[in-house]
Symmetry: C2
Subunit: 279 residues, 2 copies
Amino acid sequence: MTTIAYLGPAGTYSEMAALRYLQLCHPDLELDPSRMCPYPTIPQTISAAEQGHVDIAIVPVENSIQGGVTMTLDSLWQSESLQIQKAIVLPIAHALISRATNLNQVQVIYSHPQALAQCQQWIEQNLPTAQLIATDSTADGVANVSRDQSIAAIASQRAAEIYQEPILQYPINDQPDNCTRFLVLGRTVSAIGTHSSLAFSLKRNQPGALVKPLLVFADRQINLSRIESRPTKRSLGEYIFFIDIEAPVGDPNFAEALAELRSVTENLKILGSYEVIES
Amino acid sequence: MTTIAYLGPAGTYSEMAALRYLQLCHPDLELDPSRMCPYPTIPQTISAAEQGHVDIAIVPVENSIQGGVTMTLDSLWQSESLQIQKAIVLPIAHALISRATNLNQVQVIYSHPQALAQCQQWIEQNLPTAQLIATDSTADGVANVSRDQSIAAIASQRAAEIYQEPILQYPINDQPDNCTRFLVLGRTVSAIGTHSSLAFSLKRNQPGALVKPLLVFADRQINLSRIESRPTKRSLGEYIFFIDIEAPVGDPNFAEALAELRSVTENLKILGSYEVIES
């Protein structure tokens, strides 16, 4: 029995990613609803897998327009035992869901801050005076739509179907080429995949410290496909670096780089070696 | 006559940074209110300086807890003519402003998403069921407090004074050591300061492309004090890199690095060379 925590409720893009994962990676498993465990926030979703309440957690980590999902990166750094098992890239298309019969009636829009940001230009042009209300997930906002014709939510077409609310306009995202990358996190030490992720902090008060870890990779011609910094939250100017590498952890060249990396970082975490599924 | 655009209205942390800048860098100028020009969003604040409606714009770029202010980074990349004139680091302490007589009465909290995120743990512990409403600035939320005792806003002590609303609790930020770095942007090519910032994109479909620019600095032992990536918004996996360097643009070693950097990047922008004011 595989159980999956995701940023809920049903109808979120995280649920779509979770269903896609089951379909592609476990085609033998039945799509039993009891496998699917929605959680209200990203830290709670990740913590459910960390504490063993579920087998895996699926959370967004990066969007092609809005960039890194900082809450996921911060929770990953806190996690003691989770490893990335897979990454899933999902196209994102937002719908304006409302019982209004035309746009002029809409006065309030509920959605997750990332979705609101992804439709920012559309909102400025079409509903410049609407009040924007942040929700914990895109699907959470849809429950408000039934209250009044002046209320709208931004979420997936699937969310509109699940909550049986009408779509007023679709798609409304500013960039048609909008994708989100999700991570499948579990306690299993991940199989050797084509991509690896790691994170490290640097020793305090060493001004030249960032050059050294970057040189470890550059010297070996290992390509960093992504580097993202997050604050340590200790003080301004101290960072945790998240790095994605197009090499499996088991690669001898990469294994050597990791050993050297330990000596030039304060705290180094191997977040996993995994395959990326484009869907 | 120096005029300053800032993320308004009066009472925001950006206004505090603007007043601090005037006090420290132009002690001879009178604190005439007509110098201070509030704008409702970060892109509009930056655009006011870009188009010459004001002399300079002051915007937040990085917080010690929440990390980079993505809207500022994205607008800086779009700007054709603005250069960083100064950076100002300001301590941030948030107040819960409300006419409620105790916390149990508070049902709705208005604030800027960054301020809500900086008080996230406090809210979860003290007001777990409160509805969070995103506003364009911290001070914007304070106007709602007068409507009802069930309404609160998260903003500065100064905002409470300006709008003459009571502070129910202070400070409520999760980390006591909370600082924000602001940028002073103007059309003058900046004087040679101790810090420099630049941004670049990479040529498309060149998997090893990030190693080269990093090597340019590493080879010369030039320290990157910060590296932050933002999506190009073209497609997932393509980034713009923002780099802060502890060297003036005029330094011969750095000038040589810049020349080499041009050949290994797609588009390179020198964002300025400037002093950092810790206040």
